[in-house]
Symmetry: C2
Subunit: 255 residues, 2 copies
Amino acid sequence: MIRVVLLGAGNVATHLVNAFSIAKNIDLVQVYARKKSSLKHIQKNNISTTTNLDELKDADVYIIAIADDAIAAFSGQLKINQNTLVVHTSGSVAMKAINNNFRKGVFYPLQTFSKEKSINFKTVPLCLEADHQQDLVILEKLASAISDSVYFINSKQRESLHVAAVFVNNFTNHLYHIGKTICNEHEVPFAILQPLIQETANKILDLSPYDAQTGPAKRNDSNTITRHLEQLPNNYKEIYSLLTKSITNTYEQEL
Amino acid sequence: MIRVVLLGAGNVATHLVNAFSIAKNIDLVQVYARKKSSLKHIQKNNISTTTNLDELKDADVYIIAIADDAIAAFSGQLKINQNTLVVHTSGSVAMKAINNNFRKGVFYPLQTFSKEKSINFKTVPLCLEADHQQDLVILEKLASAISDSVYFINSKQRESLHVAAVFVNNFTNHLYHIGKTICNEHEVPFAILQPLIQETANKILDLSPYDAQTGPAKRNDSNTITRHLEQLPNNYKEIYSLLTKSITNTYEQEL
């Protein structure tokens, strides 16, 4: 049995609570949050909660799941045994940000979480890091109890994964937003584009994105590109041009 | 029974052949292609084929599914009864590009097709256009026989849909490629990002892309943005900056 205290009550913390609650060999002994109101949706699971850092219970692992900027300072306020294993869940904060009093680690679930939308945690990739081999063993047990997708990733690799995630998640979602804006302007239902969006994501389960590329930029079809640019407002024109240039460059290298 | 002659043997034509072959009330009387070799994979279905434009059979609708640039000239070469209904399947070519000898229409399946990958045509949105009301009725019957998702879209709307599709399909796929390139450089398996990519696409079935947006650009988290930019090669830096600026502008308008 691995005893866990979870520090935080945001999106990531909430999904971890749900996953740990139904996992075997995991004892979620306590959840901490600064404000009582943040803990309301967690108490329903009969889990012990606290808003007082002086009342933290004993555990094998303390998981900090709070805002990136707050992790370093918060870890310095923990009044728990020195040399305990303390990990954070951030994609973009280095492991060494955790206070030197503790054995350090990272337990980073690489997925986009919304409070409203439930998720099958078994499919969420967990990226693990620790200074000591025995801590990696603990983290791997913990991770395997809730997910089928566990990776050992060092801080430098994690930083690059986080940048890559910005491209495939944040920026992709913004392209969806631009697509919807164009549809709205011409009174076309955005729903028409939904199957294309789903298929674009599904296609790269079988093909590499390099091989899956299609469209006027790939074909270097300058007539279509010019006609598209004429229709777009200036801000979207700039994005269209830059991404078209990037695609063209990617495939020109072949020649 | 609607009699159809299909002109072309590329990706779109091939998927249409498969869809029409199993549809009720549709008689696919012939498929034409310039080269005999292009028709090999179509003949397996016991469908009459030809490479000779003089041998086109009678039909209620002729569907031109060939390269965009070739549609106008090709439609001028058709030796069929004047005033027959002739449609093309392109997202980016105007209906009026079809030769004036014929009743004109558009039958545009908005999806990304690969020859290797089969698709459930029932979910493919079909965007229809015609000059005459009675032709729209024919096209709607034809479309409903193979898809549950049928829309009436004029040429101007279709042009804007095509631009929007470039953003959500071509450009999105290129962002996947950039994500994979970053992973490769740091020896991180791209598979770690797959569940995130799928969830990003799934999320907007429930939420608008505007509401689904997350990440450093949305939060205006300049520390993370600076650190990300430092890691990127120049060509990707430019894309990161421009998309970050576009996201920031989108949400600043709220204030």
